[in-house]
């Protein structure tokens, strides 16, 4: 315990810097991933054959291959083609696309759980399909996806630790650096594990507050 505390005291700037990079990568990737997810999900549920096909193909390829392989392709595979990405950029792009595909699938499930009569009622008022999706379907689907989306956020936050392999200076990379100097592997990684845990718990709480805040009156979960 004392040794762990000492590690924190001696290395807090490094740890903080790593945590900063981790959070930055997570936030940027999750937001870009959200945009990708919304587009893919809508294309998959409401798109014509072409959009449905493209969206399905992208989702299946990304979900069907390891994230680490995707990162390696972006970081090591693209330079010969003339595209040089910094470790940070490669990681963000990889995480955003990967997360986008998972978010799309969660959102698709959520959209499809919205009763059929909502779309029908919207169209009967003269709304276009686009208006119906934006005004009626999405506001409900987005509320309903929050629990699953929280899960995805947490996964992503932890998966950003893979970025150390391509050399992005995130929390895990900093830990490795610290441990390689003091050889206290157990303590250093335990400290890092605790940091991840605290951050995850913080965001879990935050999103559960958000869930409650946007709850539709009369449809609350019985607690």
């Amino acid at each position: 315990m004392e040794r762990m505390w000492k590690i924190v005291v001696e290395n807090w700037p490094k740890l903080l810097e790593g945590l900063g990079v981790t959070l930055e990568m997570t936030m940027i990737a999750v937001v870009i991933g959200f945009v990708i997810g919304v587009i893919l999900a809508i294309a998959r549920v409401y798109g014509n054959k072409l959009f449905y096909g493209i969206s399905t193909a992208v989702i299946e390829v990304i979900r069907g291959t390891p994230l680490l392989v995707q990162l390696f392709i972006l970081y090591y595979g693209l330079p010969p083609l003339g595209v040089n990405l910094s470790p940070f950029m490669a990681a963000i792009i990889g995480f955003a696309i990967n997360s986008g595909c998972y978010q799309a699938e969660y959102l698709r499930g959520s959209i499809q759980s919205i009763a059929d009569n909502q779309m029908k009622a919207a169209r009967s008022l003269g709304m276009t399909k686009r208006q119906a999706i934006l005004q009626v379907i999405m506001p409900q689907a987005l509320r309903r996806v929050i629990p699953a989306w929280t899960n995805e956020f947490i996964y992503l936050l932890k998966y950003t630790s893979l970025a150390y392999i391509v050399g992005a200076p995130e929390l895990m990379a900093q830990a490795k650096f610290i441990a390689s100097r003091n050889f206290q592997f157990f303590e250093v990684y335990l400290v890092v594990a605790i940091i991840y845990l605290v951050v995850v718990l913080f965001f879990t709480k935050l999103f559960s507050m958000l869930e409650k805040k946007v709850e539709i009156p009369g449809l609350e979960w019985v607690r």
Partner: protein, 250 residues
Amino acid sequence: MSENRVVLRVENLKKSFGDKEVLKGVSFDMNEGETKVIIGPSGTGKSTLLSCINMLVTPDEGKIWLEEEEVTSAKNINRIRQEIGFVFQDFGLFNHLTALRNVMVGLTKVKKVEKEKARELAMKELKRVGLEREAKMYPAQLSGGQKQRVGIARALAMQPKIILFDEPTSALDPELIGEVLSVMKNLAESGMTMLVVTHEMGFARTVSDEIIFMEHGHIVEQSAPEEMFKNPKNPRTKEFLFKLNELYGE
């Protein structure tokens, strides 16, 4: 108000789902201010007929006119749908919006009415169905009867030329049916053109101008209510009315 101005004309409407032919050539007219009730056993195409009228279901054959405009060949069906109110069996209220916003949303988003004006119009319609005090409630906080009245107010707010009711009371508890029927009765009396699919024979008898009996995708018989109930011509109509009478016994 001229009693003979045709608001809706349905001509030889046909629709199949797979090899099941649900509508086998249905034709009828609705005059302005008229209330017609469609009755018949379940699965005879009554709901499909209503959904075809505003093209929520695309008919295979036949033509529909709303006043002078052909619905079935319309370039912009969304504009025509604004003029055809639709009241659903399962209400179809937007769950994430208050009663007031449910009634407003068609005005603001489809008709592009300015927000304050839309709120005013929506409140007026909510008042008309007796729900001004429930304006801020969400659908899940309302009773079935209240939900359906919001559904009616939402249709009314668009100032439609006709309102289609698809079994509006079938999902309601018996004690809530009355409040919805009385709103509909008031509407009929105020001169709204209404086409109602229902099993409520009391409503059919006292409010409608004409009853259409449908079976197996055909109109079997259509006549004024007293004629239909006292003197049904077709044996199938007779049988159906007899069964209903046994069921609901009057």
